[in-house]
Amino acid sequence: MSAVDSIKHVVNWLSEPSRFFVITVAAFFVALFPGEMGPGWLRRLTRPVLAIYRPRVAAAMFAVIAVLFGFACLDPNFRSIVGKPDNVPIAGMIFLVGFFVWFAVQQGRRNDALKDAGQPIVEKRETGDGKVLVWPDLVYIEFICLILWCIFLVAWSIFLKAPIEEPANPSKTPNPSKAPWYFLGLQEMLVYYDPWIAGVLLPGLIIVGLCAIPYIDKNPKGSGYYTFRERKPEIAIFLFGFVVLWVWLIVIGTFFRGPNQNFFGPFEYWDAHKLVPLINIDLSQIIWVKLFGVALPKNPLVRECFGLLLVLAYFVALPPLLAKTWLKSYYEKLGPARFHIMVFLMLTMIALPIKMMLRWTLNMHYLVTMPEFFFNI
């Protein structure tokens, strides 16, 4: 086996979902808070990562990643998935999202440093004594932007043909069948939750949660300029939702989910006959049958009491506890109504990665399953 092959094997191994997820989340927090998290040794270990906020280092990293990406395209399996016309923009999106998240945090950190040095932040300095005329200053920027985009779109359209497959055929289900790419995060949630939760409740809560942001975030600082230090928790939560739970899941759904919705590594052939044993098991099964060695009780409330307790503890007991301890200052600032809405939304958001990890590592199917009441979590 050549060196290249063994690298590919390692990458495939690393992209097993639970590993890949842990790596992604770790990388996310280390990149956002280098040298600021955890015990002393971890801080010392991660401090050098601060260098990524120097434009040159970042540019070099981007270049290296782009080159590696180019090399990866030499692999036929990789190319056949990434090179699908509809997937090309998604590959582009990974780079764009990476760049703009970096750019925003970097500008925020620079402003923080300027404040430390007692200087005005960039936005203040630029504004100086006031305003400029829209004509010509703004209209010209818009005009140039428009021309460049026209050129870009036309070039893109000439070089990449829009896909058209076989005519629609209701009796021939393609494998895999996927939703449009921007909904693949939602489709991914369907693996872990029942359709009415993953397909209706959670998307609804995403919209409600986005709408609620301005009314929950009472931090008066950081309005109208980039900053990181003055809004660390807000930025971390939003970016976690956007980068990890939205964009990352889309990437998973697009590039890693193959036939029969099985996981495939980036250099793995999409084999429709890949056999993955279905051994998902409910919490009630684990506790009553495996642990106690008895049959499942008939009464659903008794049968599910452990899972129910767990879920109640998570959604009902945890918020007041947080209000008294870790999030005390927020409770005092926000008041009960805002605080509980915020905590409920956040717990719901965190429940998704928790459920994903439980599934991947323990094959956990449902924590509570009461099909009698359409209640499966």
């Binding site: 006031g130 829209v134 779109l153 055929n169 909904f183 986005l210 109208g224």
Partner: protein
């Protein structure tokens, strides 16, 4: 050169020109202000803006690019409508014809890639607005208008996805609309639906639930194609246009693009 300049000056002195553009040469502040004020399109802008607000580094021009892409979609979509019939017999062939018969045809490509790009830019625009804290008072309401625009952008894309009527289209929409079956009370497989009964007759079943309303049938078929076409070409764009007008208006009324106090 001198001739061109003369021609230009002559053009500007004609009654026709002056009836359209009601301001003098834009070489002074007054006329530059008038250039914006007397033009219904430019008037979406204020006359003056903070310098920091128009820097590319600040806004990334992302909202503007999203709007530009929307206009591209309108223009190219209109041209596509000349060729496309939203019927099961014609839809697919029309698309294949666009590809094979029209020399140098890129309209379909422009429309599809423009749509992909718009979805991405609207996310990045939201990211920018979040990272500059521009949703904070007094801009809470405009953030909400933005969230609606985001949803509409996705729905526009989703309804358009069906129209080529190929395998990709039909099954993506089948998967995407299956979830409507599980809507609480309104979908026949959703929680609560089985409670809605009159005696033995269930009120919500596969023939009248939320998914049926969306698809005009139990499956993705002719009815769904027509419904998605109408929503895609008329319904959603009209609502989105109105909301965009509100969005831009509010950017102005909330004090222009945000900046530090």
């Amino acid at each position: 050169m001198a001739l061109l300049k003369k021609l230009w000056e002559y053009t500007r002195s004609t009654q026709v020109w002056n009836s359209i553009f009601r301001h003098g040469p834009t070489d002074n502040a007054r006329n530059r202000g008038l250039a914006v004020l007397t033009n219904v399109f430019l008037h979406l802008h204020p006359v003056k803006v903070r310098r920091s607000g128009i820097r590319l580094r600040f806004t990334w021009c992302m909202g503007g690019i999203t709007f530009f892409l929307f206009l591209v979609e309108v223009a190219t979509g209109l041209l596509l409508m000349f060729y496309y019939h939203p019927t099961v017999d014609y839809a697919y062939v029309d698309i294949v014809d666009l590809r094979e018969q029209v020399p140098l045809g890129v309209m379909r490509e422009l429309h599809r890639w423009g749509a992909h790009a718009m979805v991405i830019t609207v996310w990045l625009h939201m990211l920018r607005v979040f990272m500059t804290g521009s949703y904070k008072p007094p801009r809470e309401f405009n953030w909400n208008v933005g969230v609606l625009l985001l949803v509409l952008t996705l729905l526009l894309s989703f309804t358009g996805y069906l129209l080529p009527w190929d395998q990709l289209a039909m099954w993506a929409v089948t998967v995407g609309s299956n979830m409507a079956r599980a809507t609480p009370f309104l979908g026949h497989e959703g929680p609560g639906a089985s409670l809605l009964k009159l005696g033995d007759i269930s009120l919500v079943h596969a023939g009248n639930d939320a998914r049926f309303a969306l698809l005009a049938g139990r499956f993705v078929g002719a009815g769904a194609l027509l419904r998605f076409y109408v929503l895609h070409c008329v319904g959603i764009p009209v609502v989105a246009t109105i909301l965009m007008a509100v969005h831009f208006w509010r950017v102005r009324k909330d004090g222009g693009i945000s900046g530090p106090v």
